[in-house]
């Protein structure tokens, strides 16, 4: 048993610069991929909920665009990211006659495109969950689709989908590990190298397992804090009532909800 812990400590002590580099790239790719994916999701969400134009030509363009988005979402949601990585990376090399994309950017591109497909559905869900009356109200005061989205719908959507976005981020931290098939030097890639050098499979992967957990756990806690912040304070005061302008209704702090 002490031998085992010695092995684990040895692995960390000997290879920590590479483990740190792996953590750096894993977090960079996961963060950039999630953010770009969210932007893709927002863009496709706004486009897909846009009412069809009266102009025949624009209407055709809109339908075409909606079709492309639907195909994109279905294809990238319906195939494994590992396969997408191989197809995009080597497909690009075949298409350009041998030049390959630099590894880290291609990792970010692959994760972004994949996450974008999920985000498109998350954002769409977020938009249709907003009460129809708000769209009608915005239309009544003469807002365009873009104005409605920017000033009324998207701020609410963003708050509502934050838990799902956080979920995607955590999934991405773990899923960057599949990028080792094209040689991206993320955490799992270094685990493979350390394993081959030390012949200590279990010990190496145990170290990496703990690192992944610390990463995802920290991220979920931070995002939970942000969520809480956006919710505002639990106890607040409602000032004034119809009969008495000086009335104050105090809403006390609620009991903690279990399983929160």
């Amino acid at each position: 048993m002490t031998q085992f812990f010695n092995d684990v400590i040895q692995i960390v002590a000997k290879h920590y610069p590479f483990l740190l580099r792996g953590i750096g790239y894993t977090m960079l790719i996961a963060l950039a991929g999630t953010l770009i994916g969210l932007l893709i999701g927002l863009a496709t969400g706004v486009l897909r909920t846009c009412p069809l134009s009266k102009n025949g030509f624009v209407r055709m363009l809109q339908k075409l665009l909606n079709g492309i988005i639907a195909v994109y979402v279905e294809v990238f949601r319906g195939t494994p990211m590992m396969v997408q990585a191989m197809v995009i990376y080597w497909g690009y090399a075949y298409a350009t006659g041998g030049s390959t994309l630099p590894l880290i950017p291609s990792g970010i591109i692959i994760v972004s495109i994949n996450t974008g497909a999920y985000m498109a559905e998350i954002v769409r869900g977020g938009i249709i969950s907003i009460d129809k009356g708000q769209f009608e109200g915005a239309a009544a005061v003469g807002m365009t689709h873009w104005q409605t989205m920017r000033h009324i719908i998207l701020p609410q959507v963003l708050r509502n989908i934050l838990p799902s976005v956080a979920n995607e981020f955590v999934i991405n931290i773990k899923d960057t590990s599949v990028l080792n098939v094209i040689g991206v030097t993320e955490l799992y890639y270094f685990a493979g190298i350390i394993k081959r050098e030390s012949f200590q499979t279990f010990q190496t992967y145990l170290v990496v397992c703990v690192i992944y957990f610390v990463l995802t756990f920290t991220v979920t806690r931070i995002l939970r804090l942000i969520e809480k912040k956006l919710q505002g304070s639990d106890s607040y005061v409602i000032c004034g009532s119809q009969s008495d302008p000086n009335a104050e209704i105090r809403v006390p702090k609620k009991q903690e909800v279990p399983n929160d």
């Binding site: 610069p17 390959t100 040689g183 190298i193």
Partner: protein, 289 residues
């Protein structure tokens, strides 16, 4: 009553599990003199290699393939297999690094596996029609058999962590390189090619690519690639690519050559060209003492 039934069922399941464990009695492969003696053994090999095809020559073998070579050793140590197939230099290296391992001294086409020279030799892979092939063949043929085995011996020692001061095969780097020779290998198949971190051993070459700083490749393949590049008057660049990505990398033109302990088998010949063989060895079976 229900609780009683559940308890009985649980007990039965636990018992059947124990029975399974008992059945997997270890087959003693250490006394095997030929592959016929391995009848019914649990043997593993790396998938997508000639080893995996050769494995099926063992009578009634309980075969298993794993995508990565290093995982075969893990499976052996965990006791899930009786042995795994490797080339002799790899076996010597593994047994030097780990005293609990040993290997069966099988000889191809005699006590060991039936194989052609192309199956057990390793050659440089080039894109079909590459004009460098004849030049590389001339360079490879100049390396004598003694030098080859001496170099392999040194690489086995080096890979097992022993000290080696000077290499058997050396060449001068060209003063005015005419270009770069991009070479792909796994960097995960000692003693043919492996990865080193931080401190490069004698003759090691830095691995190219983003995020690969302070990583070096060394091994028999690296030395051959370095020699060929120097003799061609080119600078060597080494790319670490997964086994299954090697042929796509070559096909697409991302690299110029594969020097990865790859055998010029008939199936691969259909996709890419191979040079003459630059090393050949016996296929053996590594087992736990």
């Amino acid at each position: 009553m229900r609780r009683l039934i559940a308890l009985t069922l649980a007990l039965l399941m636990a018992l059947s599990l124990c029975a399974c464990g008992g059945e997997a009695a270890k087959l003693d492969v250490s006394t095997a003199k030929s592959i016929a003696d391995l009848k019914g053994a649990k043997i593993a090999a790396q998938s997508g290699t000639f080893h995996a095809d050769a494995m099926l020559q063992i009578p009634e073998v309980q075969s298993q393939t794993l995508p990565e070579f290093a995982d075969l050793l893990t499976a052996l140590k965990a006791g899930t297999i009786d042995g795994y197939i490797a080339e002799e230099p790899t076996a010597i290296e593994a047994c030097l690094s780990d005293e609990s391992l040993a290997y069966l001294h099988l000889v191809n086409n005699d006590t060991g596996f039936t194989a052609t020279d192309a199956d057990v030799g390793i050659a440089v892979g080039l894109k079909t029609g590459n004009e460098l092939r004849d030049q590389i063949n001339t360079i490879l043929d100049e390396i004598s058999t003694e030098t080859r085995s001496e170099l392999m011996n040194q690489m086995v020692q080096l890979s097992a962590g022993k000290e080696v001061t000077s290499l058997a095969l050396t060449s001068e780097a060209p003063a005015n390189p005419t270009g770069t020779l991009k070479v792909a290998m796994e960097c995960a198949y000692a003693p043919f090619n492996w990865t080193e971190m931080d401190t490069p051993s004698v003759g090691a070459v830095a691995i190219s690519g983003e995020g690969k700083e302070n990583m070096y490749a060394n091994g028999y393949d690296v030395q051959i690639a370095q020699y060929v590049a120097n003799k061609l008057g080119m600078t060597l660049e080494i790319y670490a690519i997964e086994w299954d990505g090697l042929i796509p990398a070559l096909d697409s033109g991302a690299v110029d050559a594969i020097v990865a302990g790859m055998s010029p088998t008939a199936e691969r010949e259909e996709q890419i060209d191979f040079t003459n063989v630059y090393y050949s060895s016996n296929l053996v079976v590594i087992y736990k003492k």
